[in-house]
Every structure is written in structure tokens, then in C-alpha cells.
Amino acid sequence: MLANSSIDNAASQAKTMFGEELIWLFIFGDLCTFTLFFFIFGHARTNNSVLYHASQAKLNVHFGSINTLLLLSSSWFVVRAASAARKGLIQKCTRALAGAFILGAGFAVFKIIEYIDKANAGISFSTNDFFLFYYLLTGLHFIHLLTGLSLIAYFIYNFRANGITRQNHATFESGAIFWHMVDLLWIVIFPLLYLLP
């Protein structure tokens, strides 16, 4: 566990910037890549609105909404975990991370159910352009989600095994930023694919 002075030091560093500078470069690179996909999707939707509307109607808006609530809540748990980590409260931190993991895994389960449902209905990425975008955007997001879940599991293990050190705390804050980005991406993907009129 960090000594009190180290915790204070870590906390004061975090006040300047939550996470390390490099993670922010990665975040903006990823966000801009997704922005490009969003614009191409929007343009394609505009040019073939009848097909996109008909295809969107085959999606389950309730699955998309519940998944949004799950990810937002998972992010809130990560914020709680970060707060606990700064105070050196390992148990509180790992409990909050476990909550974040369970909610994130819940998202994955709903997404897999949705994929199976689509497969059973004979829908795949080759069905039409809308579903090509659907699988591309949600698939890329799903990979980010699995990466984030792996990170959370790693931090739970690492904090339990080694305590909260200056080094793993800095890495954790960057991982937390990544998890929030997974949330951010879904907040845009959700209305684009499921909600637009």
C-alpha cells in the first residue's frame, strides 16, 4: 500500500491531469477514428434513408438502452474505485472495480444475445449496408469493451496481490480513462444505430 505522503503526492498529480498524457493522445486518436466512421455512416444513412430505417427497425431499442445504463453505471463504479485508490483503500477500490466488471460483463452478455438473435433471424454483416455498419461499429466497440474488462480484471488482481503502489496507481488511472472512453463511444453509437428517426 502507498504511504500517506505518496498517496497525497499521487492525488496532487491526479489533480493536474487524471491519467497520463500519453493515454489522452491514444484517446483522441481513437475518438477521431470513430468520428470518421460516424460521419461515413451518417452520409450513407442520408443517401439511403429508406433501407436504413427499415433495417434499424429490426434492432431492439430496449437492448441498446439497457446496455447504455449498464455502461454508465459501470463507469460510475470506476470513478468510485479511482477515488478509493487515491486514498489507498484497497478493499473499497477492488469492490468498486468488481461492480464495474460485473456491469461491463452484463453489457457483453446483452450484446452477445443480440448478435445471436440477429444470426437466428438470418441477419449478418453482408445483409445490407446498415448491418455492415452495425457489425463494424458495435464490433469495434465490443473489442474495446473486452479490452477494458481485461484491464479491470487485471487491476483487481494487481491491487490485491501488490497493494496500491505509485506505479500501478498511475497505470490504473490511465486504464480508468480508457474505460470511460468505451462508455463515450457507446453514447454516440447508441442513438446513431438505434434511436434516430
Partner: protein
């Protein structure tokens, strides 16, 4: 101070949950918002990007970060929101 901060983050989370439920209701019942598609697109994406700003500034703690980070986040939000409204405009 810490408890106030924690409380604030919880309020933000509750606001995010409420806004998501609002989007859910609007998306499932398009006609209750407006008969104009452009207005509906603007409202749904506006809610999404407002939620994004909340996540960035309070969950990712950009609010406490350096000015350049705040400006970069706001620039991405505005650019993506305006760009999406522009490319989706023809849909109406």
C-alpha cells in the same frame, strides 16, 4: 470536500441515467417529440453529446485538467456533433 465531490459525481451519474431514459423514450416514440425529423435528430444527438460532456468533465475529470485538455474535449464534442448534424440533415 471528498464527500462533496463523491456526491457530485453521483448526481452526475443520476443525471446521465435520467437523460438515457429520456433518449430511450424519445427514440421508441418518435412522434412525441416532433413531427420534424431534423428536430428529433438534433434533440437525440444533443442529449448524447451533453452526456458525453458530463462523462468527460466529471468521470474523466477533465474539469480538473489543464486548459488544453478541456479545449480539446470541447473541440471534439462540437466538431463531431456539428458534423453529424450536417451529414444527417439530408435524411429529412
Amino acid at each position: 470536500m471528498i464527500s462533496i465531490l463523491k456526491h457530485k459525481v453521483t448526481i452526475v451519474w443520476l443525471a446521465l441515467m435520467f437523460l438515457t431514459c429520456l433518449s430511450w423514450a424519445l427514440g421508441a416514440n418518435h412522434s412525441i417529440v416532433s413531427d420534424t425529423i431534423r428536430v428529433e435528430v438534433f434533440i437525440l444527438l444533443g442529449l448524447a453529446f451533453f452526456k458525453i460532456r458530463l462523462v468527460m468533465f466529471y468521470f474523466m475529470e477533465v474539469k480538473k485538467g489543464p486548459r488544453v485538455l478541456k479545449l480539446s474535449c470541447d473541440a471534439w464534442i462540437i466538431f463531431t456533433f456539428v458534423g453529424l448534424i450536417y451529414v444527417l440533415n439530408g435524411a429529412s
